[in-house]
């Protein structure tokens, strides 16, 4: 795994709250209270150069909000986001940072302007940042970008609706690469695609990472996909990271009860016969999260302390790369064999 002295992207205790209160008049008349949705509540992690960090979790756990915080679509409520050592959360849109950081979106049907030709879509970042002046240079660059993602340069004259989902996602990738970024945030880039096309897009992304030395933040709810692309994986639950570990460690010996539950729920031929804990319960209402550890209502190991005290992300004894936020793990109440022995 690539390790370097300074991480490319760092998040420190980042939080983002949304005010989802009913309108003022309703609050007065119906005596409703202000409501705050803690979409992300104290998330810290870092991504090294050339690394892929996977972020997994159920719907609504705040994965996409983390992505939008990093690219600056949202301002964090608190915490620090640093890119190459520079803080980027407080300052306005800095062109240099915008260039170095691009995003690939989930829905390939909504992420391309339907009224623009593909060549214009891919050229937009080039024009916006003035990376090439003459139309000859822009056309040449767009053509080479399209070829880089496995399309023909003549495809630039077409409109997005003339392409399939996988091809559209390739166009998205070409647009993201147009500014020659160092860091790509991929928000569920394959979840709208067929399985066969998913593999093509994932392999394209891995090839580009090798060739261009890109770093990825790869967000997905699909554990198999994350297993395929990520170097390290963070599991999120209700706005917090509950476990952060190298991909092989997380997939073979998960520590946090939630990570175990997630992995146990994946049907997997190689793990046939393993005792599978059924996924218990629902994600609690994020407007009214449980006190203490947010996972305690669904956790088979929860005790009094879990209901009271929020667990912090801590290193696990014996492995410096693995951090877990769980009282039971910390106290050694969890039988390590429960998962791995099978």
């Amino acid at each position: 795994m690539p390790t370097s002295a300074q991480p490319l992207v760092e998040l420190e205790n980042v939080a983002r709250y949304f005010d989802v209160s009913p309108p003022w008049l309703n609050r007065i008349l119906e005596r409703q209270r202000r409501q705050v949705l803690k979409a992300v509540d104290g998330v810290s992690f870092s991504v090294a150069k050339g690394e892929t960090l996977g972020l997994v979790g159920e719907s609504g756990c705040g994965k996409s909000t983390v992505a939008r915080l990093i690219v600056g679509l949202y301002r964090p409520t608190r915490g620090e986001i640093r890119f190459a050592g520079r803080r980027i959360d407080a300052a306005g849109p800095d062109p240099a940072v915008r260039r170095a950081m691009q995003m690939i979106f989930q829905d390939p049907y909504a992420s391309l302007n339907p009224r623009w030709r593909v060549a214009d879509i891919v050229a937009e970042p080039i024009r916006a940042h003035g990376l090439a002046r003459s139309s000859r240079d822009i056309n040449a660059r767009v053509g080479s970008l399209l070829e880089q993602v496995g399309l023909a340069s003549a495809d630039g004259a077409k409109y997005p609706h003339q392409f399939s989902g996988g091809q559209r996602q390739r166009i998205s990738i070409a647009r993201a690469l147009a500014t020659q970024p160092a860091f790509l945030i991929c928000d569920e880039p394959t979840s709208a695609l067929d399985v066969s096309v998913q593999a093509q897009v994932l392999n394209l992304m891995r090839r580009l990472q090798r060739e261009l030395g890109l770093s990825y933040l790869f967000i997905s709810h699909n554990l198999a996909v994350v297993h395929h692309v990520a170097d390290r994986v963070g599991a999120m639950y209700l706005g917090r990271i509950v476990e952060l570990a190298p991909v092989n460690v997380l997939f073979t010996s998960p520590q946090h009860p939630y990570t175990r539950m997630l992995l146990a729920a994946v049907p997997d031929l190689t793990r046939t016969g393993m005792p599978r804990t059924a996924v218990a319960g629902e994600v609690p209402n994020p407007l009214d999260p449980p006190k203490g550890c947010a996972f305690h209502p669904r956790c088979p190991y929860a005790d009094e302390r879990c209901r009271r005290e929020v667990p912090r992300l801590k290193h696990v004894a014996g492995d410096a790369d693995v951090t877990v936020a769980c009282h039971a793990v910390e106290e050694g109440r969890l039988a390590q064999e429960a998962f791995t022995a099978a």
Partner: protein, 327 residues
């Protein structure tokens, strides 16, 4: 057919010869036009509507040269020719194709001159309403929050008054502010302002609604990630995607604006009677409908219907042609 001879399908990638962005933009615009021209030639309805509209526009624009008579030159009027029926009816005179009104004015010429005023007021009022409504709607929809609340409450308040009342108000204010003798010469501008201002909330509402739908789509977020400024996003990304319903609304509104103008003229606050519009002609002819002289009101009415229909059909075609998914 009034279509330029541009190639049916735009060149695949713009030829790499020009160096300036302006030349590049012009080339892009030409490519876009040629796509439109291709779709235009394949639609017979659009071609026929365009021909009809061009004839109407031409007749209105060049009325002083094309019209057989000048119905407003009192010296040429002959009261003996009053109420002459149109061609094919007993008592028709060859020089009055569509008959004459009670003062001996040629109906065909009056229609040509009247269409001038009607089209001018209708088009200008709709353009003004569109400019106001589209920009305010874009700002409200994209900005959201307090700006949105303020703009839309103003629109709501205005929509709770009938458009005619707003137009009367604007006209009244203009009359009070401007000197008495100046009013006649700028009556048309006041009328355009009155009708335009009274119509903008429809555009603002339509555009705001579509903007809010489009705003949440990921291509807008992608543009923000790239670092495009809000004005650029509104102008280049949102506007083309919200313009479809606006164009359809605008074509319908041209008819409404022409009718509003006729109503105002009827109420005595529109164009001066020395310069009647189509609406005024219909109203004047209405008095003779039951005494048998139907041509005085039917022909201006038919001219209005044909003009409005042609504009509407063209608007329909334009909406489909601008939607790349239907291409």
């Amino acid at each position: 057919m009034p279509v330029d001879a541009a190639p049916a399908i735009a060149p695949a990638v713009v030829a790499p010869t020009a160096a300036t962005p302006a030349a590049n933009m012009a080339r892009l615009a030409r490519g876009w036009d040629s796509d439109l021209a291709y779709s235009f030639r394949r639609s017979p309805v659009a071609v026929v509507s365009a021909i009809v509209l061009i004839i109407c526009l031409g007749a209105a624009l060049f009325a002083p040269w094309v019209a057989p008579h000048n119905p407003f030159d009192l010296a040429t009027l002959n009261l003996l020719d009053a109420l002459t029926p149109p061609h094919g009816l007993p008592g028709a005179k060859p020089e009055y194709l569509l008959g004459t009104d009670d003062q001996g004015r040629d109906v065909l010429s009056a229609i040509m001159f009247g269409a001038r005023v009607s089209l001018l007021v209708g088009l200008a009022a709709v353009v003004l309403a569109m400019l106001l409504g589209v920009s305010l709607g874009l700002i409200a929809g994209y900005g959201g929050g307090k700006i949105d609340g303020f703009i839309m409450r103003v629109a709501d308040v205005q929509l709770s008054f009938p458009a005619i009342l707003i137009a009367l108000l604007v006209d009244g204010v203009a009359r009070a502010v401007l000197p008495r003798d100046a009013h006649g010469s700028i009556a048309v501008f006041v009328l355009v302002l009155a009708i335009g201002v009274s119509n903008w909330p429809q555009y603002a509402r339509t555009v705001r609604g579509s903007t809010m739908v489009e705003k949440s789509k990921e291509y807008i977020q992608a543009a923000r990630v790239i670092g495009i400024r809000p004005l650029g996003i509104m102008w280049r990304h949102l506007l083309p995607n919200v313009l479809g319903p606006v164009l359809v609304l605008a074509t319908i509104n041209i008819a409404t604006a022409i009718l509003t103008e006729a109503t105002l003229s009827f109420l005595g606050v529109g164009v001066p009677p020395t310069e009647p519009s189509l609406g005024t002609l219909i109203r004047i002819g209405n008095d003779f409908l039951f005494s048998g002289e139907w041509w005085i009101t039917i022909f201006p009415g038919a001219a209005l219907v044909i003009m409005v229909l042609a504009i509407n059909l063209l608007g329909d075609w334009l909406r489909d042609a601008l939607n790349p998914k239907l291409r």
